[in-house]
């Protein structure tokens, strides 16, 4: 690999690379996202390699980034036709090679079955989950090997960079991004172009640039899969940003919990340096830029920009008051521009296709696409990328495939700990920054947790409160003590010890914490409570006044019982009960001793005859 | 007295911490009356950003050329205030701090009126001193980016390697003809029972391959001179001498095992030390059925120390023996078990499972060893046991090397009561202290096991590394200077200087005069009293300043504070502990007026006379405990001078009880308060000094003659 010195050389390289990638050459792509790996996709890939040798087949193998449809991993797609086999096991591999690859036959038994219609689907593009999405940032994930810069370049990667460096002034770049109305994908939605301009215009020679990849929000993992699946696009975006802002040094602040993303990013940086796309005099433009990785050591608060900077500087992640804003005084007191992974990844696209093309997508206020990780009580768990303005209904039912086991949809929690719950009345609202905020939720990181009838909203609120309580840095009083107070109250309620005054107390606390906390974490911490109170007040009241949990979740308000008529006396529950609360003769109905029962739900999980009821 | 003197006096309320005990407003008023005080101002919080700005405005605005700040101890804020002055364009040394917080407000909070009087005296003294202070720049010293490591044991090798790996050139000096030190005699190591020899082998190889390290075997450090950061070291090996420069020195001379001759029948065939057992184990010939180990052997008397090392070794050896010779009956007698590590209990349990017996004996009842067996009183079972033995192992502590004192003198660093190299008590260090860049690690420091030695070695290396990294240091401290016009070249200062900072240089052929090497001078001031013609002055702490200070601090006419007592305190011990007493708000009689000096040895007998002539009823001189002097001999000299002075005093008709030289521990404020109180009591008993009227002829004459100096 030799250094690429001019845009021309890059173009030449791209042409030669894409020639090598013969489009008709069969290629088996195995998803290598963390999800699929956990399902054993690495073993599947090995099997393919072994089989490839055994059958002396000249098929290309490629482990790609996350395809998004994590529910059905390990995913295998056979190009060029895009034949789609979900949930592939090692033993399926031989026939995939011999049949599908060799002869091009489709193996019926491996095809994906649409749970709603029940019909089999052959091609990836036709799977409803993908069909109804508008994939912008995630599109490449399925096509390239994230550990190979040539894959990325072959598909036009770093083209935008060379365009910027050869044809555009920094101001023009900023204008383009501004015209595209790109807004910070970190959640708050601050106009990216404006942020860049502020940093560029801030006095001072040295300036820094930071990519915020501290995706701390539980239930959101799109940043991770972008960095795992297409790290070079993030880098390209950052280099362009650096050029526009006038920064020559940058950091990617990424969670330690994402080892694969860290690895791929590290490889990508090394490769980019190797090709001269990072470092001194990039593409002969005289512009220097480099990227360093900094690991987040497990602190949600470090997603907050001032805390994040403190952490990069090697101090505890305590936020500081703003102003001064990072664009004025950031890392080591120098102007610093911080954007989220997705924001950076958007940049090359905007440059490549132009702002006019970009603004066609989305709503008035919010352009482009939004990525949600749709998780929880949903059929098709996975990453969903849709144009801004798509409705919740489309995401949850058309793409997400609805709620499993025919259960009733209850609510969707958007934006993680800083977001809120939205009830079914609003399923048809087109979602963008404004509409979500109006509904008491928040785009946040784009975590979308689907709740069905079995989810207790009080418990959910309590869960999030536990989370922020643990993650609060403890610097300011409202956040440190206030969240604790709210948590205590919620716990009391879920224990059935709630009092009439509790709801008002919660509202009062929430208000105060929201308005007087030091940083974003505290200011948004009450949202889960406020939103659940707004849409599900009656559930709170049920807990407080009737001492009952409608969703049958809160332990102290429920009892497990054996339905005598259904119980076959298989003694499975009795054998596994941790407290030995279940007794009974073999083949005779069992009984649960409520005095001993700790309501762990183990028995219900184990019973093959649904003979355990909760009330 | 200089003209065009514009002294600015700033009194800090310390947010009430001072103001609530002293009427700072009144002090400001009183101060305004003082001559040379151009501006007297009260500050709510001098260390706050806002007040610092006010201070700077005042300096610029009123064109002040000397600043006196009355507030807290210099230890916390002097640096801050000095830099503030510099920013305002005033040399940092034109700032004088008067400690009215720890030195007055807090320690006399019970007696407001007298505290006020004292505070005022302190202010006057500060002003008097300031009016004579001269600006001067610190001395820059370039640091030689290389290090000397003394001792080629584990500690030395580890430290050398760590530095070398970071690109520091290291000279490693070992007096033996081979590396390895104590470790060479060890068999296995705790806790992993790894072979000592192997570990040693790879470490030595690693060291030999390291280009940045030069190993000098069979060599001794025979001379260490030169300034901090630029030491000139002379090493002798086999008669040949070699000299070189180093920036920092790491002392890793290790220790030796005490041979307990005359104890527990040591010397007889059946009684050996732990170390001797090691070699037995190494050879693998251990013939014994009944083994007894005695820990803390012979350490019942006061001056010894329980050593974690003995316990660890004993435990390790017990485990080893039991593993290799399960038959052996092994009993371990101990007084205390000092254990460290992740979970030492595990090892103790292991030992017990293997059948090692543990018996604890009390300090009052040491085990008795006869030819037949060991008699011991078991604390737990409360009964005597008699253990037959055919091998008795004594755990004896590590003791310092014989030649340790020689080295200590060469390096001019003190030894502790056991002959180990202690850390400098940085905790109570005086302000403006610069480190010596001499670091101690390993058993030279205290008996430490391998794990700890390695740790210490690396930690010492780290400190050395960060010192060397600075490239150059600026020593702000006071500096001695010889007035060539007065110097007669008698050479007494050359003799007395503990740091060889003064040399005789020929002057126009015939006589030669003393010259001070500023980079070597630590500003202790020992040479000043020594000079018969008072040709030496101390920058930043000159004799005129001191005399003026003494006069002012005692000046409160017919002060209510009779008897009036002057304290001339060494800042390392007496002054440090006085401040500590302040921080603790301990109360002592306000009669005492304290002046802080670099060292007790700085005091000239005439300072004491001068004090009496100015109305002192008693003089208390505070210094470091013998052997603890930070300038090697300062405290001894003070002692000598006071002794000489006594005759002079007697001649002038003073009771010699009025002068006392007292050693102080820097970290024991209650003892300090006690001493002060009983000295005050003693003086009170003597009553106010009845001498001729102050304004009497000879008195005045005396004053003039002294003042002239």
């Amino acid at each position: 690999m030799e250094i690429v010195r001019t845009p021309g050389q890059l173009e030449k390289l791209r042409r030669s690379l894409s020639k090598e990638r013969d489009p008709n050459q069969p290629c088996v792509t195995v998803c290598g996202g963390t999800g699929c790996r956990a399902y054993g996709s690495e073993r599947v890939l090995e099997a393919f390699q072994v089989e490839k040798k055994a059958q002396t087949n000249r098929v290309n193998l490629r482990m790609t980034g996350c395809h998004g449809f994590c529910e059905r991993g390990p995913l295998v797609v056979i190009q060029p036709r895009g034949i789609f086999y979900p949930g592939v096991k090692v033993e399926d591999v031989p026939q995939i090679i011999s049949k599908t690859v060799e002869k091009g036959d489709i193996i019926d038994s491996l095809l994906y079955v649409d749970p709603t219609t029940g019909q089999k689907i052959t091609y990836e593009s036709e799977v409803p989950f993908y069909k109804k999405q508008g994939r912008l940032l995630l599109d490449m994930n399925g096509q390239i090997d994230p550990t190979s810069i040539t894959d990325y370049i072959a598909l036009g990667g770093y083209g935008s960079l060379s365009k910027v460096l050869s044809q555009m002034t920094p101001e023009e770049v900023i204008d383009e991004v501004a015209r595209a109305k790109l807004r910070g994908r970190g959640g708050a939605g601050f106009p990216t172009g404006l942020k860049w301009r502020l940093t560029r215009e801030a006095p001072g020679e040295t300036k820094y640039l930071v990519c915020n990849a501290d995706e701390g929000d539980p239930g959101a993992y799109m940043d991770r899969s972008i960095m795992e699946g297409n790290p070079h696009r993030v880098l390209e975006g950052m280099i362009i940003g650096g050029y526009a802002i006038g920064a020559d040094k940058s950091f990617v602040y990424i969670r330690k919990e994402y080892p694969l993303a860290v690895k791929h990013l590290g490889i990508a940086i090394a490769q980019a340096r190797g090709y001269g796309l990072l470092g001194k005099d990039i593409l002969g433009s005289g512009f220097d830029f480099d990227v360093e990785i900094r690991l987040g050591a497990g602190a949600f608060v470090c997603g907050e920009e001032t805390a994040l900077m403190a952490s990069i500087e090697g101090r505890t992640g305590e936020p500081r008051p703003r102003p001064p804003y990072p664009s004025q005084e950031g890392l080591w007191g120098k102007p610093t521009n911080i954007n989220n992974v997705k924001s950076w990844a958007n940049v090359p696209l905007i440059i490549e296709k132009g702002a006019d093309w970009y603004v066609q997508m989305g709503t008035e206020g919010s352009k482009g696409t939004a990525i949600f990780s749709v998780v929880g009580k949903i059929n098709n768990t996975g990453l969903v990328e849709v144009p801004m303005g798509a409705t919740l209904c489309q995401i949850i039912f058309d793409i997400g495939g609805g709620i499993p086991k025919g259960k009733e949809f209850k609510a969707v929690q958007i934006g993680g700990p800083s977001g809120g719950c939205i009830s079914k009345e609003y399923l048809d609202t087109p979602i963008d920054y404004e509409s979500l905020t109006e509904l008491g939720a928040m785009m946040g990181s784009g975590g979308m947790v689907i709740c069905d009838e079995d989810t207790c909203m009080v418990d959910l609120a309590r869960y999030f409160m536990t989370f922020v309580q643990e993650e609060s840095c403890g610097k300011c009083v409202p956040c440190r003590v206030g969240t604790k107070a709210m948590l205590e109250t919620l716990t009391r309620i879920t224990k059935g010890e709630g009092q009439g005054s509790d709801i008002d107390y919660l509202l009062e606390l929430a208000e105060a914490v929201k308005s007087s906390s030091l940083c974003g974490l505290g200011q948004t911490a009450p949202n889960p409570i406020l939103s659940t109170l707004r849409y599900f007040r009656e559930e709170y009241e049920a807990h407080i006044y009737d001492k009952s949990c409608p969703a049958k979740v809160c332990r102290d308000l429920i009892t497990y019982e054996v339905l005598a008529d259904l119980c076959t006396g298989c003694v499975v529950c009795a054998r596994n009960c941790p407290t030995g609360a279940i007794t009974g003769e073999r083949c005779a109905p069992h009984i649960i001793n409520q005095a001993l029962c700790v309501r762990c739900g183990l028995c219900k999980g184990l019973c093959n005859f649904d003979a355990i009821s909760v009330s | 007295m200089k003209d065009n003197l514009k002294i600015g006096l700033f009194i800090c309320d310390c947010g009430g911490e001072i103001a609530s005990y002293l009427d700072t407003e009144a002090l400001v008023m009183a101060a305004e009356q003082l001559p040379q005080v151009a501006l007297s101002q009260r500050m709510p919080y001098l260390c706050s950003r806002r007040d610092l700005m006010k201070l700077q405005e005042a300096i610029r605005g009123a064109g002040l050329n000397h600043i006196v700040v009355a507030g807290c101890t210099p230890r916390t804020h002097e640096a801050l205030l000095r830099s503030a002055c510099r920013e305002a364009g005033l040399n940092g040394h034109l700032l004088e701090m008067v400690n009215i917080r720890e030195g007055c407000a807090w320690v006399h909070s019970a007696d407001g009126e007298r505290a006020m009087a004292k505070a005022l005296d302190l202010l006057k003294a500060g002003v008097a001193r300031a009016s004579l202070s001269e600006p001067y720049e610190g001395v820059k010293v370039q640091i030689t980016p290389s290090a000397l490591v003394i001792g080629g044991g584990v500690a030395g090798m580890t430290a050398a390697l760590a530095l070398a790996k970071r690109g520091i050139a290291v000279k490693l000096v070992e007096k033996e003809h081979h590396l390895g030190g104590l470790l060479r005699n060890l068999h296995a190591l705790y806790p992993k029972e790894q072979r000592a020899s192997e570990l040693l082998k790879c470490q030595i190889e690693e060291l030999r391959e390291e280009p940045n390290v030069e190993i000098l075997l069979g060599a001794q450090v025979s001379e260490v001179t030169g300034p901090v950061g630029n030491y000139r070291v002379v090493v002798t090996s086999g008669g040949a001498e070699r000299a070189f420069q180093v920036g920092a020195i790491i002392v890793a001379t290790g220790a030796q095992v005490q041979k307990p001759f005359g104890l527990f029948r040591y010397g007889t065939s059946k009684v050996i030390t732990q170390l001797e057992l090691e070699s037995l184990l190494a050879k693998g010939d251990l013939q014994a059925e009944q083994v007894v180990m005695i820990l803390c052997a012979g350490s019942s008397d006061e001056n010894t120390y329980p050593s974690a090392l003995c316990s660890l070794t004993a435990l390790k050896q017990a485990l080893l023996i039991k593993r290799t010779h399960p038959k052996v009956r092994l009993t371990l007698l101990f007084r205390d078990l000092y254990l460290k590590g992740d979970n030492p209990e595990a090892d103790i349990r292991k030992a017990k499972e293997l059948g090692v017996e543990f018996i604890q004996y009390g300090p009052e009842a040491e085990p008795r060893v006869t030819a037949e067996g060991v008699e011991v009183y078991d604390l737990l079972t409360k009964q005597k046991a008699n253990l037959p033995y055919d091998l008795l192992i004594l755990a004896t502590p590590l003791i310092p090397q014989e030649d340790v004192t020689v080295l200590a003198n060469r390096l001019k660093i003190p030894l502790d009561s056991h002959g180990f190299f202690p850390d400098v008590r940085l905790r109570l260090r005086p302000h403006g202290y610069i480190e010596r860049a001499i670091y101690v690690c390993g058993a030279a420091h205290y008996p430490s096991d391998l794990r700890e030695t390695t740790f210490q070695a690396l930690s010492a290396a780290a400190r050395a590394f960060n010192f060397l990294k600075q490239k150059q240091i600026i020593s702000e401290g006071a500096m001695a200077a010889v007035d060539a016009a007065l110097c007669t070249g008698c050479g007494s200062c050359v003799e007395i200087c503990p740091f060889q900072a003064i040399n005789l240089r020929p002057k126009d052929g015939l006589l030669s005069i003393s010259v001070v090497e500023p980079t070597l001078c630590k500003g202790c001031g020992l040479c000043l009293p020594a000079c018969p013609v008072k040709a030496i002055s101390l920058q930043g702490d000159s004799d005129p300043q001191l005399t003026a200070q003494i006069q002012a601090i005692l000046s409160s006419e017919e002060s209510k504070d009779r008897p009036l007592i002057l304290g001339l305190f060494c800042e390392w011990s007496a002054y440090a502990v006085a401040e500590l007493a302040g921080a603790r708000h301990l109360q002592y009689p306000p009669n005492l007026r304290i002046i802080s000096l670099r060292c007790a040895g700085r005091i000239d007998p005439y300072h004491i006379l001068w004090a009496f002539l100015n109305g002192a009823d008693g003089v208390l001189i505070g210094g470091c405990l013998p052997g603890k002097c930070h300038y090697v001999r300062g405290n001894q000299q003070a002692e000598g001078r006071v002794a000489k002075l006594n005759d002079a005093l007697a001649a002038r008709g003073f009771e010699i009880e009025r002068v006392r030289l007292q050693w102080f521990q820097p970290d024991n404020p209650s003892a300090f308060v006690e001493e002060i109180s009983n000295f005050v009591a003693q003086i009170e008993a003597l009553g106010p000094r009845v001498t001729q009227d102050r304004r009497s002829q000879d008195g005045a004459a005396e004053k003039r003659s002294l003042g002239a100096r």
Partner: protein
């Protein structure tokens, strides 16, 4: 010069002045806990929050850290401000009701009883001692430990600090008297709250240097009747 309105008073201040400083100039009282003249603003206690009018409605800002802006309109005693202060103080009371300082504030703002309680603690985590030790004295012997509810103040490993020079600055800056300078053992001295929990035998040689206190076992634990405190 910058012009702004605080409680309907037109005032003029130098650029860079904080709202709190400006208010104090004008003798307008704003309660504070973590603010200190000698230190950089920390904005942690939120007691000094004031209402700042803005385009998108009013919001609360920490007056100790927020710089005066041209034309800003500020209320230091509006209902919004009082409500937030009341809650803040109530939250402080949860663990520090017994402190005179907190009592006084509560009385001032008319808060009777906290509606939720925590184990009593003298320390309100204003961080003054830590910042004073680091920024004024330049020693940094103590620091903030852990986070959230577990947050504490202490020296490394929470045993007697070797770095502490016992200047007592932390003690005198502490607004609640949570810190006391006290002897721990004859050998070691350290600040009371931060004392080593271990039973340290006076050991000339080992005692002073090693941060890891020696675990000295009594005969019982050796005979296995009880295991020592480590686990």
């Amino acid at each position: 010069m910058i012009h702004l309105t605080i409680d309907n008073q037109e005032i003029e201040v130098e650029e860079g002045t904080t709202i709190l400083e400006a208010a104090q100039e004008k003798g307008i009282f704003i309660p504070t806990l973590c603010y200190h003249e000698a230190l950089e603003p920390y904005a942690a206690c939120r007691l000094c929050a004031v209402e700042l009018e803005g385009k998108r409605g009013s919001r609360l800002v920490a007056s100790c850290a927020y710089p005066c802006e041209e034309g800003a309109v500020i209320h230091t005693d509006s209902e919004m401000v009082r409500r937030s202060r009341r809650i803040t103080v109530e939250l402080l009371m949860a663990s520090s009701e017994h402190l005179p300082l907190v009592k006084a504030l509560a009385a001032q703002l008319g808060v009777a009883e906290p509606r939720f309680r925590l184990p009593p603690d003298d320390c309100i985590l204003c961080g003054l001692c830590v910042r004073a030790c680091r920024d004024i004295v330049g020693i940094a012997a103590i620091s903030l430990l852990n986070r959230g509810m577990e947050k504490r103040i202490g020296p490394p490993f929470e045993i007697a600090s070797n770095a502490c020079i016992e200047c007592g600055t932390c003690v005198l800056i502490c607004p609640t008297g949570a810190l006391k300078l006290e002897d721990i053992t004859k050998e070691e001295k350290a600040i009371h709250r931060w004392g080593s929990p271990f039973d340290r035998r006076p050991c000339h040689i080992c005692g002073d240097h090693d941060l890891e206190p020696h675990l000295s076992l009594g005969p019982h634990s050796i005979l296995g009747e009880q295991t020592s405190g480590e686990e």
